[in-house]
Symmetry: C2
Subunit: 183 residues, 2 copies
Amino acid sequence: MTVDRDQVLRTAAALLSRKATATMDEVARAAGIGRATLHRHFAGRHSLVKALEDLGIKEFEAALEAARLDDGTAEDALRRLIAEVEPAAPLLAFLVTENQLFEGDQMHEGWNRLDARVSALFRRGQEQGEFRIDLTPAWLTEALYGLVGAGAWSVQEGRVAAKDFQYMIAELLLGGARRSVEQ
Amino acid sequence: MTVDRDQVLRTAAALLSRKATATMDEVARAAGIGRATLHRHFAGRHSLVKALEDLGIKEFEAALEAARLDDGTAEDALRRLIAEVEPAAPLLAFLVTENQLFEGDQMHEGWNRLDARVSALFRRGQEQGEFRIDLTPAWLTEALYGLVGAGAWSVQEGRVAAKDFQYMIAELLLGGARRSVEQ
DNA sequence: CCCACATGAGACATTCGTGTCTCATGTGGG
DNA sequence: CCCACATGAGACACGAATGTCTCATGTGGG
């Protein structure tokens, strides 16, 4: 009977990441609830977007914790991160795409902190000789976001099987498309 | 004096890809023109988006031609494609992100055709033993789009130098972040 | 079994973006 | 030098989306 706030937010993220101009009514329908109910839980579009932002940052932060980025090889840590991030992928795709939230160069401080942690992982990998040093940590971070978004959309549209999500992203990000001699 | 239609569209793409809900007024300001002038050149938001779609598809098609995807190794062809696509990257980022254009499962037929050509390149690479076969052509295609978008945004926000755009994308997509033994 | 409460549907006023118009300005070409 | 014309600014009406409200419904807990 009571609305599942979490499920509403995930549905909204999936919709809004592909159609940012969707109306509140469309969001409500997509979540299977009435527009009035949506308004009761989120006082207006701004509030909804803010909730998406908060949930996305919270889940990404939890994924960063769960992945234990400082343990083991950087590669293993990155694979763990991708695995942990998967459930939040549509949410992440929305946040990465829509940085209208961060208007006026007043980027969300929480986001910067998370950014720094991902970047630090890539830097660690470089310092330990695991990762290439000609691709900057900043780019690898952005690329990870881009691939997570692309993966979420591909799964959403059935172009990639959901079970392959982690593998496709991790393998491409780490090994690339080229067939290596060592395989 | 006269408006540079092309420049307006590129500015609009850069803005709308990051803030899809931007108003016509914001688009006009970003392009450095008045709202009335924007309306004189594009009769309404729908018309503007359509123009962006048309220009994006046209430029991507031209890039595909110029890259001669069937010539030489698949890797070289892919590098050429990335190089040719660079000027249209913000436009592509907009198109990939905003598939609200293709509402009601009536996806733009032109886009499907272009998709197929990129996908065919990856398939050729696999058949010739250049590319890994465990990453599907569909995923590699989506990943290319995702990385082009991430690259365009990174350059736009100064996180990656414009001169590194091609290199960063091509190297990551082909070789990945892992330091290979052959280097 | 009944009541409290959350929901869905819909009415309503308001806000905001849109699309059209006019008019003054200024520039570029003839 | 002057005129034609594109532009910028702003006024205006319209329409769509928003935000608030009421009321009927149905469910879940006590």
